[in-house]
Symmetry: D2
Subunit: 360 residues, 4 copies
């Protein structure tokens, strides 16, 4: 359980870091969508390991193989089965931790839950799992593109280095540097920090910010499935995520209502708001304004240092730091955040289609 | 859709602010639980309006009426149907906003989604809906009590006034003051601030913090239904919530892995961690350590001031500030946060029971 | 668990035979539907006990009380909460079976599953539960009416007395006699049989047949949620149901494909079929032809005779036959079958709305 | 939507008759189950095409490839991803029907629902899809085996040739003949009939009967998810199924309650019933007695004859009978019926585990 996401546009993912491969089944994709394979490939490249000198050096091309649900280049409405093979597993790298619980990894909790575990590279708990999400998210993005909805993410913080007011930037520029920060000057500082952290054999956290543009008003469901509640769940389900906020977020708590309220005004022939502290969502339902949010990521647990720990027999042991890893996962998290945002948005779009009778 | 929560311990809620009443159906409650009605009543009292001089003056006793699922004082395993009557509706108070969209309320978004709406007191989007959650959460708490699991929340911030390190306090003391802050000195300052805000006809935001204690290791499901992902969704589904973080949260992003990693150590005959930046969750699965988290609430939208707005015909109008309201909902949000935490925890506990074959 | 039905138009029911009452929450009803209370009342009357001399003599008016989801006479799109009070419980009638397992009732299985049970009138396992289904089904019928879809059921068999080719009759005539058989002559024979069975203190089974007319082509989902699979589940979930068939059903197995195949032909500007052995469904998806099906009901277990049995302590006991009961539930099952058919059809209609992008 | 089955032991299937292949993701399989690959292979062989002279001559070895969820030969509790490649597609065989709707196939309904379709071999509507079910069902059977539960199916009717009282036979003998009928004499007659039908270029229907043995009492959930309701849905979701009955089924309607009631008696230290007209289920919950049921299958639509029809442009056309097909699918349906029964039983077993608190 728990490996499925979505209500109408449903995905089921599978796969471990060092098994035969990963995959995803998408059930509920609208029929007739042209499947732009280049675009899907491009999204996979944005997430893949080894893409720059500040990421892990594991080499995976993350080529997808589509088994079903597509005919003559278009989706048929039946499930789309996708497989991604693992090609650069080095399982022997992990024999030294077969019986050891690595600090702040999921080793102990998986072992406790299931009685044993695939310890190679973290098995199912590895962020490698997110490749399947990005593949599914790319297809969701293709559908959203037909609907005119765009999703753009970027890195707005690494360690203490921040890039404030990310919405003022042209976010497409974020792809031009390896940390995916929309401000090139700040990006340089961030890159220097990540390099320094890597040299220390350490890791560092950061924040990904994202905006959903041109989303129609009316998406989201009262009361438990509010748009931002599902969005929050989707983001928090990404490996290493520690926090989520939208609109004014945590900083909004110090404001007064008279300041925080977004006054409704006419924008051409539509109704919009003067400010947007609400982050494009009121009462859990989209307002038509930009939806923006932030996701906090912790410094990843894998570090190149020796750490004391416990093994499965209860003995005190030392976990030595070796293997390939990302000193900072935040740049690679950008396409994952976007993918999850696409899944959430499309699912709510389709749910909303069922709400009003089409005869009216 | 969207008015259901849970996988095994499932709730379905209904009801509007100014209709006949509210209610909840709980499906999946284990049989044989003694239903302590005094405890449920006590939880309802903690949430009810009019409970102190800093809340709305609407008077609702929020008495629950149990229709089913209980026999000879104990749950039977069949659905528990609960009804709460509205008694102090003043629907005429709302005629002035029948056709107006109030700023930063859900009026515009509901109207857009459904074509029309019950405008009285916000209808379904009113926080009055949370009475049903607290009733269901109280029953979940009774089950958790049998399992030895406790949930305690408190207010740790109102406006800029903060109460740091909430876990060092005896949280039961938080109930001794009307803002539910565990530090009596800080509580006084918070109360003064809320009074000042009320006098200004304004509103103010805040933060509720909460801890789940004695939760067994192994709860939570990979990969989308991580414990903290569901917890985040549950919290963000509460009215006025803007952000969620657990463990080190947003402040963890500036830390290094070497500092943030929670080293595993022996604690008696169990395995625990030296620090707990992880907030009791690793890889989405509970570790046995305390689960702690924060929820940010915006300043509520209802203020006692005139505000420009738009009506359903697209005309510019003035929304005048009148009626009963909470200048700060955060103290009343504490039992709601706890209730949602109870629903999440119990549901994962029951899901986890199905994971391993009982014959083994 | 298990007390919910539906994917978009979702219902959650609660209530026991001899508790305070029953109810249902409907989540996902389209907004703007005028709620014809007279029609809902009329449907409730068709199911209620004590409606004729061949049913149980328990007197329940089954008046519904709507708590929410309706404003100014129309559905709002938010959950509709409905409560039905029990008024004619005679709980003392059941003290003699408090510790006894009645043969072919759910006493033993509920006791085994839950450890104890509300024994009064069968508790949750009583067919009284179906009142909530009929209330929800009546609302579904109101929505279907707007879509031009009709559902009509009738009794086509009681004991060995059959009414073949039920589709050739005007089914509205079935309401004109107390067994709800569309052929008045056969109805007389059925009534005589039921009276005879009652005099014997016994019970008898029967078949309800039903047709869904003007259902658009394209409803139903591959591969597990085929239209007839969900329809079958819905029918088999009704108390005392033992079998389900649609189209040619069990009698189709003796046919050859060359005979059974429904040839496609033009019907005006639409495509239809010459014969309809398929029962209006191909590959799990509706074809636009009439959907027809049969549901078999066993003779109910309550009989006015002494029967040997076992009690909860494992002792051999005698269960004496007393109390109020239906010698044949089949006539009262007609509105229940229709209600479940309405829930299935509407849910698939709404699911199908989400399939194709509304921009296309 | 609709390509998922199960609540705890959840499967998601994908794949078309003539695409790259098929597959299934199983989420919720208990950890620690030894995966007997020979057994899974054996089950696949029982379903595969070309297995005898009375089935289609398409040659598919239906070898499964397991991608994930298994480590050192045992399930890990994480999703099991399985892929089955298509190897003997002859897509060109289908060019003649690219634009034609075949009678009593899903061509017209899929085209109407989705706007276009993968016409090769019926695409997603092909019974080839059931290979994925059998793979998942084989794993479910391995879990049930640990629990002592057995599932055995056989053919009890082809055309008008019946094999009554199937439960009196040793059902393992059914595998000894190519129609899978437990009575060797009747099997011979059935084989002759199928051969005759094939010679005629025609097809014929039949009935598969099945028994679930040693299933513990207490499985199944009130009120919509009754054991037999889910079982019925699962069976009716199999291609060509037209009806389902359990216990006394349709023949029970002519019985009187005094005759049909199953008297409770002691069986050693357990409580059982003297007769079993109930088919092992009371009130939707298993009683511990054998669960037995029948599934009716229509004569398949593919016949070797010319038939008049309509094409996608609305023109009258002739569909010529050619290609490979089964004159009678019923023998190959036996392992599919068993697989679905295994999925239903295991899912209810796991659901039931969550019902009672494990501390009690």
């Amino acid at each position: 359980m728990g490996n499925n996401y979505g209500t109408i546009f449903k995905i089921s993912t599978f796969g471990e870091s060092h098994g035969k491969g990963l995959g995803v089944v998408i059930d509920g994709c609208p029929p007739g969508i042209e499947l732009d394979l280049d675009f899907i490939h491009h999204e996979m490249q944005r997430r893949k390991p080894g893409q720059s000198k500040i990421t892990t050096q594991r080499k995976e091309e993350d080529e997808i193989s589509i088994f079903s649900g597509v005919f003559e280049g278009k989706t048929t409405g039946t499930p789309i089965g996708i497989v991604i093979h693992n090609t650069d597993q080095k399982s022997q790298d992990y024999s030294h931790i077969a019986e050891k619980f690595r600090p702040s990894h999921a080793d102990f909790t998986y072992h406790t839950k299931y009685g044993f575990r695939d310890y190679r590279g973290g098995g199912r708990s590895s962020a490698r799992e997110t490749a399947a999400r990005v593949a599914a998210g790319a297809i969701a993005k293709l559908v959203l593109k037909k609907l005119g909805i765009q999703i753009e993410g970027c890195v707005t913080q690494i360690g203490a280095i921040q890039c404030p007011d990310f919405q003022k930037y042209d976010l497409s520029k974020a792809e031009e540097n390896i940390v995916r920060c929309p401000d090139p000057q700040i990006a340089e500082k961030m890159i220097d920090l990540v390099k320094e952290v890597r040299k220390d054999g350490d890791s560092i956290g950061g924040v990904v910010s994202c905006v959903i543009k041109n989303c129609p008003a009316g998406l989201g469901e009262p009361v438990f499935d509010k748009f931002h509640a599902e969005l929050g769940k989707a983001m928090l389900s990404i490996n290493a995520a520690k926090g989520f906020q939208y609109g004014s977020g945590f900083s909004g708590v110090t404001m007064r209502g008279s300041e925080h309220n977004d006054l409704l005004i006419k924008k051409g022939n539509k109704i919009g708001t003067k400010t947007n502290y609400s982050g494009g969502i009121q009462g859990g339902i989209t307002s038509g304004e930009d939806i923006y949010f932030d996701v906090a990521f912790k410094p990843v647990a894998t570090i190149m240092r020796d750490q004391p720990s416990i093994d499965i027999h209860g003995n005190e042991v030392v976990v030595s730091g070796k293997g390939r890893h990302d000193p900072c996962v935040v740049p690679r998290a950008v396409p994952i955040v976007e993918a999850m945002a696409a899944l959430v948005t499309l699912d709510f779009y389709l749910r909303n289609q069922s709400t009003n009778l089409s005869i009216d």
